[in-house]
């Protein structure tokens, strides 16, 4: 301890690169967004006017923004739930495989290495109303698939593409979690006469809860922020904004529409929302988590 107290500056020096990155790529832009959200500015920055909270009022009262909020909640909940439950199922199954386990695992982890935009294009091809294999198959079953007009189908498409992407990430964590559960616990339960279903829900699932909680937070953040590429390549936010999420709307207003004030206000609101959501998760969901 005494050694370190003489070197007050040294730890800070070691921390500096990380702090600099956070400051430059997070705090500075966040501060800029906060500042700009109180101004109306032309695209070229030739003039700006302080408008107080009117950007915020415009955003919060906009029907399109409210729709984007609803879309985001529906989309995020579906993606998190879908990606986690499928990954858990696959991990449980893969955990039992004795022969060729490595091969299965590699195949299941693979989708994570596919770039979101590429994954989006892939699903778009499968579901293309005139060329897609899946849409043709659905057509022969009497289901008319056209995500370019049907908002519900478009939402389903982006959910499927995002779930497929995120599933692999969850799979790795669930598999690692499963493998760290002591086999003796499950064996003694089996000797006591507990069936596989019961063993899973009373032993495995509670012991996995730290992993599940971690993944819940990560998946929510993924669905909120990292699905931009998938949405942009598959639906472009359409039809009629049915798949426009909050992040996608910020892009549309800020980059396409060059409305810096309005999109800054949206991103500040989004930051607050996600902060609140994470807080709620830590306060209420984490209580039920059993660390061991």
């Amino acid at each position: 301890m005494a050694t370190f107290q003489r070197h007050r500056a040294f730890p800070w020096l070691l921390l500096l690169p990380q702090l600099a990155i956070v400051a430059i790529f997070f705090f500075w832009p966040a501060f800029q967004a906060l500042r700009r959200s109180f101004y109306v500015q032309d695209a070229f920055g030739l003039g700006e006017r302080f408008v107080g909270l009117s950007n915020y009022v415009a955003v919060l009262t906009s029907a399109l923004w409210q729709q984007a909020l609803v879309n985001t909640l529906l989309f995020s909940a579906s993606v998190a739930l879908g990606a986690m439950s499928i990954a858990l199922l696959l991990a449980t199954l893969a955990d039992r495989v004795l022969r060729g386990a490595k091969g299965y695992r590699t195949l299941l982890i693979w989708p994570y290495a596919v770039a979101p935009a590429a994954a989006g294009v892939l699903w778009l091809f499968l579901f293309d109303p005139s060329l897609g294999i899946i849409s043709r198959a659905l057509g022969s079953l009497g289901i008319h698939w056209n995500q370019r007009l049907n908002g519900g189908q478009a939402m389903l498409l982006v959910i499927i593409a995002s779930v497929w992407q995120q599933m692999s990430y969850n799979f790795i964590f669930f598999l690692a979690g499963l493998q760290s559960i002591p086999a003796s616990l499950l064996e003694s339960a089996a000797i006591d006469g507990a069936g596989p279903w019961r063993r899973f829900w009373t032993i495995t699932f509670p012991l996995l809860s730290p992993t599940t909680f971690f993944l819940l937070v990560m998946n929510t953040i993924y669905a909120f922020f990292e699905t931009f590429g998938t949405i942009d390549t598959t639906t472009g936010g359409g039809p009629n904004n049915a798949t426009t999420t909050l992040v996608y709307k910020i892009y549309q207003d800020g980059i396409v529409g060059l409305d810096l004030g309005g999109s800054s206000a949206q991103s500040v609101i989004l930051m607050v929302l996600v902060g609140l959501l994470t807080l709620i998760q830590f306060r209420y969901v984490e209580r039920r988590v059993q660390y061991y």
Binding site: A33, L64, L149, P239, Y251
Partner: protein
Amino acid sequence: MHNVTRVLASTAMVSGLALSTMPAMAATEVVWWHAMEGSLGEKVNEIADNFNASQSDFVVKPVYQGTYIENMTATISAFRAGNPPAISQIYEVGTATMMNAEGAIYPVYQLMADSDQPFDPNNYIAAVTGYYSTPDGEMLSMPFNSSTPVVYYNRDIFQEAGLDPDNPPTSWPELAAAGQQIVDSGAAACGFTTTWPSWIQLENLTARHNIPFASDANGFGGPSARLEFQQSDAVIQHIQNLVDWQQSGVFNYGGRMDQASPQFFTQDCAMLMASSASYAAVRDNSANFDFGVAPLPYYPEVIDPPANSIIGGASLWVMQGHSDAVYDGVAAFFHYLSSPQVQADWHQFTGYLPITEAAYELTREQGFYADNPGTDVALEQLTGGQTGEYSRGIRLGNMPQIREAIEGELEAALNGDKSAEQAMQDAAARGNQLLERFEQSVN
């Protein structure tokens, strides 16, 4: 927001890098940012190389910056960082944003007057330059790649359905009847589809019928313009027709931008409404059938003969912040670019329209139109009709997002979520909010 700022910062950084790695040369460098990819991008490089070889004072450096949107964002952030390119290619819907950025742009008419290059605006095709000129006819940017929508039709399907492939429909009622006959005869599953729904089914529809799209002469009068298309019965009727035709199979909505084209290539749809610049793509994808080109239809009960259609595409804007030597180079390059040989070559290679009468004449003399039937339809449609007050073009701020609003509401109407009239009212209401915000930001 940090995502957006990060994109801006990184594009600025990358472009700065591109500039700094260029070798130092005695000749003055003129940097040209553009959004032409693939073979179009190679053509851009070829034009610059030929210009550079033709003289030794200036070197034009084309730099590909991604999509139109990406290039515009990159140009704006570079300007904000004090390091803009000399020339930037901006899509037609960005025109209002550019022309309202006084202090950021150097109007082309002024640039040409300040330089000693010969320049006569009357040599240019008015229907093309009008889109990029002030109401007094002063050219603000140099038209580069302009196109106008036409109808591509499958001659084989026409034959099979008992229609005359040499006499394609010219009016909307004829087109609908032909579409119905095609569907009824089983020659194809759908009559027609459209790319760029807002551009073709609304912007060009209003222009061709000389119906106001927006007040203040479609926005040419200034940023206080508001949308007016929703007040026209003819427009509402057309949208209602599209909804009805979607039901009957005469029409099949194929998505935004040019997502609908595959439906024509796979012969699911007998007709495709698309840009004249899609000619090469249609030719390359129609190995299994013969196709023809027809002008965009009109409603004879609304207007006869129709007014001209309007253009889409992009133009070249000159940015402030460079030395006189650079601007001399830009002027010399624009002079070169407007020459009949360069224009005729560009027009024939890409399907984009020539910007001067001389290039059109040269192309005709070279026998290009005779060898490639249908390639002159676009230019005839653009220059043949009577130019009306509302067929010069559309100049509205936030136009990319207004298009999104229109297309979104059109999708809602086609899906049966709301009536045609309600959809257009909602589209206009959303668009007018965007126009109000734009007016606020430039004042």
